[in-house]
């Protein structure tokens, strides 16, 4: 039953998301675009943290590579957004390959610290590099075009649709990978890494593949971020963004892909919209939300779904062993 329901629910949700520009004013629409770009970053964190069991604070680095690449390509090369997307995702994947080659040799808390360092280094680099605007950020990014010679897209509704397109593509790609042999091997790393080696699988390869894939997704999210803001600043790569991305994964339920997306929406809505009614208290409310989530939703929003039907009761489990004795 759930097999029929899930795609139907996803299709309805997609229609609802796509029709948002017809019902919302430009400010809420740009907030929605920001949520979608951030949610795709959160998906990339979840691919590592939830699926592969590697808790990461470094995805902001690849998000930053994507965002700055899109901006630089926009200013110096072309306003074509497809070129920006491909360049941003590809460069982010390459940087992820280089940094991941070292990072995935570690695990657990060490991995968390290494990725934190990667994120902070990128943040500092963006802050200090004059070629990308330094601490002033990268301004003057021209409006995007979708095909060569096309009209520049300026209205918030249209940029929102582009961000939605990137989000849906990235999310579907993550779903596809999670259902593939690579996705199963990634879960295998999370559940019992030594066992994977004992059946003859190099876990380093699996972890690096997951890391590069997550880096590409984060890079794509970064290009979408630039499209909706037409401005990138080092502040977008701050540690606090990594922290709330990881918070969104925990809030949504690590390992499920849709849960963290809802988690991301809740986190951004609380920080940027609800906090508008209590000025200056956004961070405090996020903190309170996190504490509540840990107490009330130990398995996240995704854990609210009823447990699997096919699990037997403990009594049923004991029976087969007893029959042999009898």
């Amino acid at each position: 039953m759930t097999k029929v329901r899930a795609p139907l629910a996803a299709a309805l949700l997609l229609v609802a998301l796509a029709s948002l520009p017809f019902v919302l004013a430009p400010y809420p629409i740009s907030l929605a675009a920001r949520i979608l770009a951030f949610a795709l970053l959160v998906v990339s964190v979840d691919v590592l943290t939830g699926l592969t069991g590697l808790p990461s604070l470094g995805q902001i680095a690849y998000f930053g590579v994507g965002a700055y690449t899109a901006g630089m390509v926009g200013i110096h090369v072309t306003s074509n957004v497809l070129v920006q997307l491909v360049a941003g995702a590809a460069l982010a994947a390459m940087v992820a390959l280089l940094t991941g080659a070292v990072a995935v040799r570690t695990s657990g808390i060490v991995f968390l610290m290494v990725t934190l360092a990667i994120g902070e280094l990128t943040h500092r680099l963006a802050d200090g590099l004059d070629a990308v605007g330094g601490s002033n950020g990268l301004a003057g990014i021209p409006a995007i075009t979708v095909y060569p010679g096309g009209e520049p897209i300026i209205l918030a509704g249209y940029t929102y649709w582009w961000v939605l397109t990137v989000f849906v593509l990235g999310f579907l790609l993550a779903v596809l990978v999670s259902r593939s042999p690579l996705g199963r091997a990634m879960r295998g790393v999370r559940e019992a890494e030594p066992r994977l080696a004992a059946i003859g699988q190099r876990t380093y390869t699996i972890k690096l593949a997951a890391y590069v894939f997550a880096g590409a997704i984060a890079g794509a999210a970064g290009t979408a971020w630039t499209v909706q803001a037409r401005f990138v600043s080092p502040g977008d790569l701050a540690f606090s963004v990594s922290a709330i991305a990881l918070l969104s994964v925990v809030l949504g339920g690590a390992g499920s892909l849709w849960g963290p997306v809802i988690g991301a929406s809740v986190v951004i809505l609380v920080r940027d919209w609800v906090s508008g009614y209590l000025p200056g208290q956004g961070e405090l409310m996020l903190g309170a939300l996190f504490v509540l989530a840990v107490y009330l939703l130990p398995r996240g929003i995704a854990g609210l779904r009823p447990p699997r039907r096919d699990r037997p009761s403990p009594a049923q489990q004991e029976q087969p062993a007893m029959e042999v004795v009898g």
């Binding site: 091997a185 559940e191 019992a192 004992a198 699990r311 037997p312 062993a321 007893m322 029959e323």
Partner: protein, 272 residues
């Protein structure tokens, strides 16, 4: 001292002068043995005999201080666990080490995908159906096919051991190392497990390290006995049972001791 009765060509696994030292402690002391292709070999010995160290050197988790391990004609002593598993030498774990958060079917699929050569394919495809049916065959063999969609965390201890066997078989091994497979099992579970091992095809050679001597005498056609790191006896179950050196190693040199090996359960009552 010559314990070699097989011809070299028949031997799947040849261990020569294997030694493992931790500082002053010699855990395994110059052990040599040969395991014929298709054999049901058991490794026994009292606590601290060096069984686990020896086992872990065969599996590749520990590197020996000196000695050679030749598997299928190839020196594998410098191979790691992954390379040995790919060569067909696969181990099980004493404490079930399965992918507990995944379904029973997914556990076996991970192994089938590794063997069938596309563990890194990042998209689903039609080939997944063949992988699934191969995994189901392995589950059917160990009697777990009706549990395929359950999470491993919901299985009983005995069922987890059955799954462990399915996972190992899915690796298409030439030799399986069983590390105390019946530890912690009920009598019924042990019986089922022994049946399962007996049902393995002869193309799969098995080496079993086990405390439960009933299981050893039921399953093994050849037994090696380790004591204090040394190989003290080797031969058929009858030969080993009758060997006074083995009895002494297990029970010490006392005169009014209980017999170590009892032929029938009735003897248990008369002996006490």
């Amino acid at each position: 001292m010559s314990l070699r009765t097989h011809h070299a060509n028949d031997d799947l696994l040849v261990v020569e002068n294997l030694t493992l030292r931790y500082g002053a402690l010699t855990a395994v002391d110059d052990v040599s043995l040969r395991i014929a292709s298709g054999a049901r070999h058991a490794l026994i010995g009292p606590n601290g005999a060096g069984k686990s160290s020896f086992f872990s050197m065969l599996g590749g988790a520990t590197s020996p201080t000196s000695g050679r391990i030749v598997f299928g004609g190839e020196d594998i002593v410098s191979h790691d666990e992954v390379q040995r598993a790919r060569a067909g030498l696969v181990r099980t774990y004493q404490h079930s080490s399965l992918f507990t958060g995944l379904s029973v079917l997914d556990n076996v699929r991970i192994a089938v995908e590794r063997v069938s050569g596309h563990p890194l394919r990042p998209w689903p495809s039609r080939a997944d159906r063949r992988i699934t049916s191969a995994a189901e065959e392995h589950l059917a063999h160990v009697g777990l096919v009706d549990r395929r969609d359950q999470l491993v965390s919901s299985l009983s201890h005995g069922e987890r051991r059955q799954l462990e066997v399915a996972l190992v078989l899915a690796c298409e091994p030439r030799l399986v190392l069983f590390d105390e497979p019946t530890a912690g099992m009920s009598a019924a579970e042990t019986h089922r497990f022994a049946e399962l091992v007996e049902s393995l095809p002869r193309a799969v050679t098995t080496v079993i390290v086990e405390h439960d001597l009933d299981v050893v005498f039921r399953l093994a056609d050849r037994i090696s006995v380790l004591a204090a790191g040394r190989l003290i006896a080797e031969g058929s179950p009858e030969h080993v049972k009758a060997d006074p050196v083995v009895n002494e190693a297990y029970l010490g040199d006392s005169n009014d001791r209980e017999p170590l090996f009892l032929d029938t359960p009735a003897d248990v009552r008369t002996a006490r």
